[in-house]
């Protein structure tokens, strides 16, 4: 509910199979999509799925927590909460009441690179949703009295997600260590002490900078017709004023890393240690040629479930871990993270398991065979077909890709590009990217929190 989009794979459940449920891109032969750009710069994407009388209406803004001003970490996410607090034309709660009375569902989420709002309703209510959403794109206005309670809500959200969970604290510490300069190292929700200082002015300043049609993407999927949606978009969002260059994002970039790092969270509440590793690697936004596709296949091949290389070696063969895997947060504008994780078997220390992990990784370039690569590709491509079953998944796939600056072709051709990845590409990605000096290793252990 008004959530953080803790992107794929970064959840730290150590269930049996932690295959990350990242949304994959649509198959080349997928739905008949129409696109359009309004005069004010708003991109419009319509994805028909006429099976059920339901539409998903989403607006994506091309700014996220990585665009928070220095000292105001968490403002993108706090603003996302405040977007439910009313506009010049509609008092606090009215939009939500209308959505609910129409039998609709709504929510919003903030990620590093984007923020998105959505409703799911019957098609005859789409116009009303568009009218409300266009209104809060430029008319946000709330009273100071709603700010303090909502800040308390966000503080409780942070307590729930992080302050009570040593494993989440390790994730934060590892990201903060991996990114020595880039704001991806700052949590999406913000640091506790900075959230406490966020106020109405911070939120509205941020809003006025980024919330505009030329910084947004409208995605409508479900039981709709492209032409009809475009007409509605003209009549609603078409009235919003563009902001021009003011919405551009400025991000520092990471220096070339030289130091391998280790961090450790010790807490008396920890009963099951874990070992994690993050590498600084290219993303879809920074990769040259097919590096990013190779990294996708690499993550699936070495760490995607019980037939992956790491699981077979560490769990099945040598039995030093009870679970092991990998994930890659490829969808990002700037250099991003690739993760390995392992859960030690009883009596195995994190240090010993890390050594095994490194030995295994050293042998991977030799051991990961063509069959494993093909299996990984099959699974990645099948995911794109499975995602066509869900209008919401498709809306998220297209919305997030465009918000990151990718093109529709990047989405459409994704399966072909995955198919084209060779074993040599995967080995090259492994040898270039998964190197110690680009990494942070984290231990979660039982111990004195002091």
């Amino acid at each position: 509910m008004r959530t953080l989009d803790i992107a794929a794979g970064s959840s730290r459940h150590i269930g049996l199979r932690t295959d990350s449920a990242e949304l994959r891109r649509s198959e080349g032969t997928g739905p008949a999509i129409s696109t359009y750009r309004l005069d004010n710069g708003l991109d419009v994407v319509v994805i028909p799925d006429r099976r059920v009388p339901v539409v998903t209406h989403m607006v994506w803004y091309k700014n996220g927590s990585a665009d928070d001003p220095i000292g105001q970490s968490g403002i993108a996410h706090f603003l996302e909460h405040l977007m439910f607090k009313g506009t010049e034309h509609h008092p606090v709660g009215e939009f939500s009441k209308v959505v609910s009375a129409l039998g609709g569902q709504e929510n919003a989420f903030t990620s590093f690179d984007y923020t998105a709002y959505f409703q799911r309703v019957a098609p005859e209510h789409l116009e009303r949703m568009m009218t409300f959403e266009a209104d809060r794109m430029s008319g946000l206005n709330f009273d100071d009295t709603v700010v303090a309670p909502e800040r308390d809500v966000v503080l409780e959200e942070r307590r729930m997600r992080v302050e009570t969970d040593p494993s989440a604290q390790l994730s934060e510490a590892m990201a903060a260590s991996l990114f020595v300069h880039h704001p991806y190292g700052i949590p999406i929700i913000g640091w506790m002490h900075e959230i406490e200082t966020l106020n109405r002015t911070h939120a509205l300043d941020y809003y006025r900078r980024f919330y505009a049609p030329d910084n947004a993407i409208l995605v409508v999927s479900g039981d709709v017709d492209g032409a009809a949606v475009l007409k509605l978009a003209e009549a609603t969002y078409g009235r919003n004023t563009p902001r021009g260059d003011g919405t551009l994002r400025f991000r520092p970039s990471e220096p070339e890393p030289r130091a391998s790092r280790h961090v450790c969270v010790a807490d008396p509440k920890v009963e099951q240690p874990t070992v994690q590793r993050l590498y600084l690697v290219p993303s879809t936004g920074t990769a040259k040629a097919k590096e990013s596709y190779a990294l996708e296949v690499l993550a699936e091949a070495i760490g995607g479930g019980p037939t992956s290389y790491l699981y077979r070696k560490l769990v099945l063969e040598i039995g030093r871990a009870v679970n092991a895997g990998a994930w890659y947060m490829g969808s990002a504008i700037d250099e991003t993270r690739f993760s390995l994780y392992a859960v030690p078997a009883e009596g195995v220390s994190p240090t010993d398991l890390e050594a095994e992990l490194d030995r295994t990784l050293d042998a991977a370039a030799r051991d990961v065979d063509a069959v494993t690569i093909e299996r990984a590709k099959t699974r990645l491509i099948a995911e794109t077909i499975y995602s066509c079953d869900s209008q919401t998944s498709l809306a998220r796939i297209y919305g997030s890709a465009l918000a990151l600056g990718e093109t529709l072709d990047d989405v459409r051709l994704w399966p072909d590009r995955i198919r084209a990845v060779t074993r040599d590409d995967v080995v090259a990605a492994l040898q270039t990217s998964l190197v110690k000096r680009r990494s942070v290793t984290g231990y979660l252990v039982k111990g004195d929190a002091r």
Partner: protein, 428 residues
């Protein structure tokens, strides 16, 4: 094949009841929009059937079904799933072992064959049993001091002492350690049979093809005896407050009162009542009072729990230790107000509008449809339930809601479990 078809939600999709030549019953929603087949099914049984001292055995059984079957050891079996991107999974609930399968239609034959092996010929190889045990124990340890897990486990233990529902489905380190291969084999023989099976399928298939697939997959399973009887039970500890001490800055709270089971004629009124109190919209009373007005919590809500042998209304929230007392007062006061005054006519009307209007949202993917139908089939609500459901909601009156409130809200005398270190609050 029967000619009766039921529409799904307000959609053109139709539910076909199927009786296979081999005598299995299933429901099918055929749709070739996406080239996939999704299957959901339940075997009556589940964690309530775990042998004494062996809590978690059903969950282990569920996790072991795809860890080696027929001619394949675990790794070989998983490789066959992976190379065709077939998704197969099993899970234990309190009253059932459920399963789901999703496959591209081009690999449906392979998928059904692997499913057949998993249910009919699981191997329970010693190394697989030990690995799943170690993974289960690691998972239990990982969650051991998680405030949400601590609160929920304690809540069920207090609500249903001495009853199987009071035991955690995934067991404890001790009970999972005690499960033997013999226990798993016996539990499989007692649970995985065709007489206790409910199946639903959605996707690019047709009645004849599905009937053949189902006979091949489940047809040879034994007709087994009914599950061991589980006594009916009611939530206990109403009016008491339990604190599970945990050194965290925020307390997780679980609270519960009596409920109404899905098969009870008052279920629909209770469902509407729950929506008004703490259902999943931003408009519920608890969301408004606890979160919007006071900023006490990020999440707060209530839901109806309907098991075969009990029903309750239970709620969740989490607030910083300093505000636990205030938060509980707000919850109790809203519950008490609703219990004494009932909802306003406008509130009731809006709740009904939301619940009827939003029903179709749960039917927009094959997997969601399969799971909704599987649950309806498991509860024996009838193939026409989806058509009738919105009419039943629309027919709910103030009297119905007040009757449901009288049966459940109990003047806000709740069982409350708090995991954390709440300030200025003692157990009571």
């Amino acid at each position: 094949m029967s000619a009766v078809v039921e529409r799904v939600g307000a959609s053109p999709a139709e539910i076909q009841p199927i009786r296979t030549p081999g005598g299995l019953d299933a429901w099918l929603v055929a749709s070739d929009f996406v080239p996939l087949v999704a299957l959901a099914f339940n075997f009556e049984g589940g964690a309530a059937q775990d042998p004494p001292g062996k809590g978690g055995a059903s969950q282990m059984l569920a996790r072991l079904l795809d860890e080696g079957a027929g001619p394949y050891n675990s790794d070989e079996f998983q490789e066959r799933l992976a190379e065709h991107a077939i998704e197969l999974g099993f899970n234990a609930g309190p009253d059932a072992i459920g399963g789901s399968m999703k496959t591209l239609s081009e690999h449906a034959d392979k998928a059904f064959e692997l499913l057949r092996l998993a249910v009919a010929e699981p191997r329970f190889d010693e190394d697989a049993v030990e690995r799943v045990r170690a993974q289960t124990i690691a998972g239990l340890r990982y969650q051991m001091n998680d405030p949400g897990t601590v609160a929920s486990r304690r809540f069920f233990a207090e609500a249903f002492p001495g009853h199987p529902y009071g035991r955690p489905i995934s067991g404890t380190v001790e009970t999972v350690s005690a499960v033997t291969r013999g226990d798993l084999v016996a539990l499989h023989a007692a649970t995985i049979g065709r007489g206790r099976l409910k199946i639903t399928a959605v996707g690019a298939t047709n009645a004849d093809a599905l009937a053949a697939d189902l006979d091949r997959t489940f047809g040879a399973l034994p007709e087994i005896a009914p599950a061991a009887p589980v006594p009916d039970v009611s939530i206990t500890g109403l009016g008491s407050r339990i604190i599970a001490d945990l050194d965290v800055p925020q307390s997780v709270i679980r609270f519960g009162v009596r409920g109404v089971s899905w098969r009870d004629p008052d279920f629909i009124p209770a469902y509407v009542l729950n929506h008004i109190l703490g259902g999943g919209a931003f408009t519920s009373r608890l969301f408004q009072e606890v979160r919007e007005r006071r900023g006490l919590a990020y999440s707060v809500g209530t839901s109806l729990v309907s098991y075969r042998h009990t029903a309750m209304t239970w709620g969740y929230t989490a607030t910083k230790n300093e505000r636990v007392g205030e938060c509980l007062e707000v919850i109790a006061s809203e519950m008490s107000r609703l219990s004494h005054e009932g909802p306003s006519d406008e509130e009731l009307g809006k709740a009904k509008d939301y619940l009827t209007g939003s029903y179709a949202l749960g039917f927009d993917t094959s997997t969601k449809i399969a799971h909704q139908l599987a649950q309806i089939a498991f509860e024996d609500l009838g193939i026409d339930y989806i058509r009738r459901r919105n009419e039943m909601i629309a027919a709910v009156t103030q009297d119905d809601v007040r009757r449901a409130a009288a049966r459940t809200l109990n003047d806000a005398q709740m069982l409350v479990v708090i995991a954390g270190r709440p300030t200025g609050l003692a157990a009571a």
